[in-house]
Symmetry: C2
Amino acid sequence: MSQDRGRRPTLDTIALELGVSRATVSNAYNRPDQLSAELRERIIATARRLGYPGPDPTARSLATRRSGSVAVMLCDGLSSAFSDPALSIMLDALASTVDSGDRALLLLPGVDGAGPRAQSVMRAQTDVVVAYSLVDDAPSLEAVRARKLPLVVVDEPVVPGSARVEVADETGAALAARHVVSLGHRRIGVLAFELSADGHHGPAGLDRIKTARFRVTRDRIAGYWKGLAEHGIPTDEVPLWEAPGSGREIGTIGARWLLERHPRPTALLCMSDELAIGAVRAAHDLGLAVPADVSVVGFDDTPAASWSSPPLTTVRQDLLLKGRTAGDLALRMLNGERPGPPITLGVTLVARASTAPPAAPM
Amino acid sequence: MSQDRGRRPTLDTIALELGVSRATVSNAYNRPDQLSAELRERIIATARRLGYPGPDPTARSLATRRSGSVAVMLCDGLSSAFSDPALSIMLDALASTVDSGDRALLLLPGVDGAGPRAQSVMRAQTDVVVAYSLVDDAPSLEAVRARKLPLVVVDEPVVPGSARVEVADETGAALAARHVVSLGHRRIGVLAFELSADGHHGPAGLDRIKTARFRVTRDRIAGYWKGLAEHGIPTDEVPLWEAPGSGREIGTIGARWLLERHPRPTALLCMSDELAIGAVRAAHDLGLAVPADVSVVGFDDTPAASWSSPPLTTVRQDLLLKGRTAGDLALRMLNGERPGPPITLGVTLVARASTAPPAAPM
DNA sequence: CCAGGCTACTGAAGCGCTTCAGTAACCGCC
DNA sequence: GGCGGTTACTGAAGCGCTTCAGTAGCCTGG
């Protein structure tokens, strides 16, 4: 007879009811080979009868010292995460990898582009954390360090003791730049991501570029410049517009500004496919044809890139692989493996219909 | 002197070091008003010196019996979640609401459209779960019940004892149907969501429709039919194509099938804006103009609806409010509130440029 | 000068589980 | 018939924290 009336059943409830030890009941759930099939049956049956749902996850976590979840720290809120296909795709791959390791994803969204609050990280029940494209000096990274949690960084500068996966952003950007230059373009505009998490957007000058706090943005600018400089294009005259996000709407606004410069750029290098799609729209709005009047290059090669019209020339990165790799790394670190050398994924240029040689100079 | 060399510091480490009780150290973190500011300072300083990162979240959860996270059960993997703007937007609102209550989001993605595995739910460290548009008989729902976790269901049939928020789907669908009918359309096609989580897609007949296991799909079909039937259109002759997902690509495929019927429908009712955008594409591919040759109605009123060309006539639902409401409900249930009556959010028809009276009959 | 009320802190009882070192019983074998 | 080896199960020591009922000491007012 259960004397715990009203209280929710625990391992003890079952053990008492059956007159076996608590360890045995625990084994019934976790190590079926440690007891007779017959007893196990009885335990499970009794549990069901008494409404015991199985070992409490929190208590188990405390005892085993593993929480069973992988935390992901994002730079911004979820809406930006969800609306950025590149991030979505990679997060999905990460989630499936992690899930196949029987772990759940704990999402720690950032606030105001500065990443999650330190306190959210301090309170997160997790065994390992994956940081995605945070600013260099995010307080959340410090919190992870304080908790001595294994860390996997994605698209971020090196953090001592962490595993790392990233993409050859600089190389990719250089590919994009070389592509338009070799088509004959000389007047180029750049549609960039945020340089810092200060909510600023609009045209950005050299001084601001130099203090960029997002590695991805820095590297891609460096790549663009490298590609352009190789062909003698003075990079300090290349107009750059900083977009507070990676969505199309913003892309349209930024591209419009770029396309209204005099002389008008004949090619736009965009840091994401979404920005590029927005740029194509801006061109249309201004009565310019793509690629006849202006060439547009994206970045990422998301599904939307090939779907858009015209299909986008873009720099392809393997987003699925990036997510899977990050997931694998996280799972590995959980097993106590030491973080190996950083993994850098390659990029390729995919030439489609949004780029062409410039029209004859006016 | 700390005799725990090598072990990570705990509350006791600090307490011992300072010769105070463990309770006091705990209070230093959780109830600063319970000790003198001076002692608190010393405790925090010592903690920092010894590398103690603050109370362990898992142990705290066990002691307080609250985990601090809200689990969200999704029908499918994250990629579909991320690629469905309607879901993204609502999840984001949910996340911010929950985050402002200082809780993290634990994502439990589904597998094969059947929702999360029961085991994932059993092992999830969470205080409350939100279920989003799962099939009626999802095993995960049963798992939630077994664990006696508070449950908030979104866009789902009633689950006893749970809080519920949903959208007037049937009403919305009826609005859409009435809209096209009152424009004069008589030949209508329906581009629907999945009816069951069996991976099937393509044209669906009455028998299959009757056994639909997704409430949203069921309700919207019912709404469409109601709107059509009111005007004497025989609903059993309305072709319906079942889409395995809600993306544009699928929309294009389904719409093409619908537009190749004889007689060709002059209006397409689509269960999401993405499907509708795909349908517009299919029309173009077939050399049909929207809305001149075929009218298209979406559902949700996501940003893409107004952005697309032509801007989409659609049924607007307040996705942000839906997410916020679900978050609020979850937070409330955490505080032990009883689930109130279901909350149903209204819908309105937003008429834009993708619908028009049909061309004169051929 | 003492009752009453604070303030600042402590002790101990949990929270529900895992795990490890046993132990008792049994089995087969030379 | 004793011995090594299994099998099936138990006891107890944690895991790291919160919280509640105290208690000691001090202050205040009548």
